[in-house]
Amino acid sequence: MQFGFLKDNEPRVSITPSTLEKFISLGHKVSIEKNAGILSGFSDSRYNNAKFYSRKELIKNSNVILSVNSSSFGMLNDYKGKVLISNFSVDQNREELKKEIKKNKILAYDLSMIPRTTIAQSMDILSSMAGLSGYKAIIKAAELLPKIFPMTITAAGSIKPVKVVVIGAGVAGLQAIATAKRLGAIVEASDPRQAAKEEVLSLGAKFIEVDGAVEDKTAGGYAVKQSKEYLEKQKEEVSKRLVQADVVITTAQVFGSKSPVLISKDIVEKMNSGTVIIDLASSTGGNCELTEDSKIVDYNGIKIVGNSYLASELSYDASNLFSNNVYNFINYIIKDNEFIHDDDDILKNCKI
């Protein structure tokens, strides 16, 4: 099989020199679009045994084409009859997309739909990228905050530890908690999932208790939509912390719907000047009322960073993890140079 890796419209790349080696050793042929890895620190010269093409040639010469984001594909017309593997979650209109794909006889796999089971975890790009985003959220907050994180007693006075509130203790939230703790902050977190409490405590942070969360065990790890009352109660409990917080990280997402607004404008108005809010849910509307996707809003000295793509700022590590996810996926769906049957759980989920 002939694999083609596109140069994405962002720093990450879906293949790295080390995964390339693995592909080659499995006997696959690999072509890469020119300068695909340059922004992740992988110049073309570091890829051995791969062919380099312009985009057009690449498409012509490959039957499976991969990218980090589906938006990098451009027009799907160009990919008639090919197999496309990417993260299609950025495509807003799913129905439209499905039609388009059908029309062009494309076989498309959406890596963002990998089920969150233990065994699929090695292909789960959402997990791997969320982990990086969580880390970066704290780093970015630390960069923007006019304070230092750890408590520090010095001859020139004492500095109190920074207070961090994390809303949504999923993969990203947990990683943010861990990173903030490392830097010496006092961390509290909120999440409606029951398991989240134990998980938050397992990182040594505090959990903000709110009664009455709705839980759906069948949702496979995703949070389900919460009742109005719950959201109210949560807002209240969390708000108490928010107005004293120095850094707020929000990651609350609900699969398939707009992210809940957990920080309203009036709460932001009560926050201290200098506070930093990093909203990782911004691509699905954001958890803060004032969030604007991919922008930094300064509201009375409070900085609201709306960014769901922080992982791509960690392009080196992100590309490595992403390309491993891709490799593991390919390795799973292709046996004996053939795509395996579609009654597989994972495939069923991913296929568009």
Partner: protein, 458 residues
């Protein structure tokens, strides 16, 4: 001269036993005791006796044959059948006492003036206790060796029957002493033999070590009684020593099993332990604090497999502490990090970094799976799914196909968790039931605390 030798041998026996109560010197202690015994035997052979006859051949032959035999048996026997062996040996010791008492009593029957009544009473006691030790030990052996017929069997009204037996033996003894009629003697022996069987029969196989230890202290007492008869002080002291030590040991063993002695003897084997819950899947074995500590302490290489439970318990610092105290004793310690252990990518890294575990001690899946083969103990702390063999063996498992830490390839494994409940994936773990696995139940923080203080006591 021989008095001095006897004194020396008494000292060696005591000191030997004393040294045996510490792992570091136990082996030396056994040798001391053996030397003491040899000296005692030698002294008994050479000591001047009032009307000594030269029956040396009757001594040399049994001694040398049994010495050789004992050596061969000990060499050949498998490590796992040691307790059985001890049981048989103990039975033989009991038999020996029975034979001796029997001969002496016969002397009395022939020359009623040879002994005072009190001596006969002593002899009869020795006969009784020795007989019980003999048949009891043999039955214990059978139970340990897993003979079907020997399994736990209780007569109805067991206690009453036992009391009746004791009573009958007492009556026969009285009759025998007053009549010197051998029939009664035989009856006593027979009743004692049967009583020995009744004594052990209702007790379950798992409690056998306790029973053997108890019977062993019985044998000690017969030895002491016989010592009185033969006026030999080393026999007396050695017997008493074993009797006392054996009794304490029995109690300690009961303690270690969390049972009372009365419970063992009377109650048979009924209750408790998380061990009974998951019978369908097979048996699990628990490990005690000190066994665990010693096992780690005397290992060359230990691999710790941390999982979500370690994070939940926030026991990472204790884990590091244990690592350090093992390393101080030249045990190589590593951490095998499974990629999905915990609840977020890199959870275990965060955890161990907090405890300041050196990066160089962390090994990844592939390397770990190489290294387990040369590992003495794999210690699984609050991990479950990531060490589940079903991921390899059972295609119907939701974990099937996930790369897994093959901990069971190490010589033995110990799993620390609070209960038998499942991990994230919600499936039971066959590892827990494997033959070389032991469970160490409890919240990881408490468990590791116990382990740590046990290690420091070593």
């Amino acid at each position: 001269m021989e008095k001095f030798l006897f004194l020396l041998s008494a000292f060696l026996l005591v000191w030997g036993l004393r040294l045996q109560s510490d792992p570091a010197s136990a082996s030396k202690g056994n040798k001391f005791a053996a030397l003491g015994m040899l000296i005692a035997i030698f002294s008994a052979v050479i000591m001047p006796l009032e009307n000594s006859k030269s029956n040396l051949i009757w001594i040399i032959i049994p001694l040398s044959v049994s010495a050789t035999l004992g050596y061969i048996i000990a060499k050949k026997i498998e490590m796992t059948s040691m307790p059985q062996m001890v049981s048989i040996f103990n039975g033989l010791g009991g038999l020996s006492a029975v034979l001796l008492s029997f001969t002496e009593i016969n002397k009395w029957i022939i020359f009623p003036d040879a002994y005072e009544i009190i001596v006969v009473v002593v002899l009869l006691s020795s006969l009784f206790i020795g007989s019980v030790a003999f048949t009891g030990s043999l039955l214990a052996f059978a139970k340990l060796d897993g003979y079907k017929w020997s399994e736990k069997l209780t007569l109805p009204f067991q206690h009453i029957i036992n009391i009746v037996f004791i009573f009958m033996i007492l009556v026969c003894s009285y009759l025998f002493i007053s009549s010197s009629d051998v029939t009664y003697l035989y009856l006593i022996i027979f009743l004692s033999f049967v009583y020995g069987i009744f004594f052990v029969a209702p007790i379950g196989g798992a409690d056998m070590p306790v029973v053997i230890s108890l019977l062993n202290s019985f044998t000690g007492i017969t030895a002491a009684l016989t010592g009185i008869i033969f006026g030999n002080i080393v026999m007396l002291l050695g017997g008493i020593l074993v009797g006392a030590a054996g009794t304490i040991l029995t109690l300690l063993m009961c303690n270690a099993m969390n049972r009372s002695l009365l419970n063992v003897i009377i109650g048979g084997f009924s209750s408790s332990g998380p061990s009974n819950e998951n019978k369908e899947q097979g048996d699990i074995k628990e490990i005690s604090d000190s066994d665990f500590a010693v096992q780690l302490f005397y290992s060359n290489k230990v691999i710790i497999v941390p999982g979500y439970g370690l994070a939940v318990a926030q026991a990472q610092k204790l884990c590091k502490e244990i690592q350090e105290s093992l390393e101080a004793n030249d045990v190589e310690v590593k951490y095998a990090i499974h990629p999905v252990a915990g609840r977020m990518p890199g959870h275990m890294n965060v955890l161990l970094a907090e405890a300041d575990v050196d990066y160089s001690k962390l090994i990844e899946l592939d390397q770990a799976n190489e290294e387990f083969k040369s590992t003495d103990v794999a210690v699984i702390i609050g991990a479950n799914d990531v060490v589940n063999p079903d991921a390899i063996d059972d295609s119907s498992s939701p974990l099937y196909g996930m790369p897994i830490l093959k901990v069971w390839e190490s010589i033995s494994t110990v799993v620390l968790k609070r209960s038998m409940s499942a991990g994230y994936a919600g499936v039971q773990n066959p590892l827990f039931f494997k033959k070389n696995n032991k469970m160490y139940f409890g919240d990881a923080k408490e468990s590791l605390q116990r382990l740590s203080s046990e290690l420091k006591n070593l």
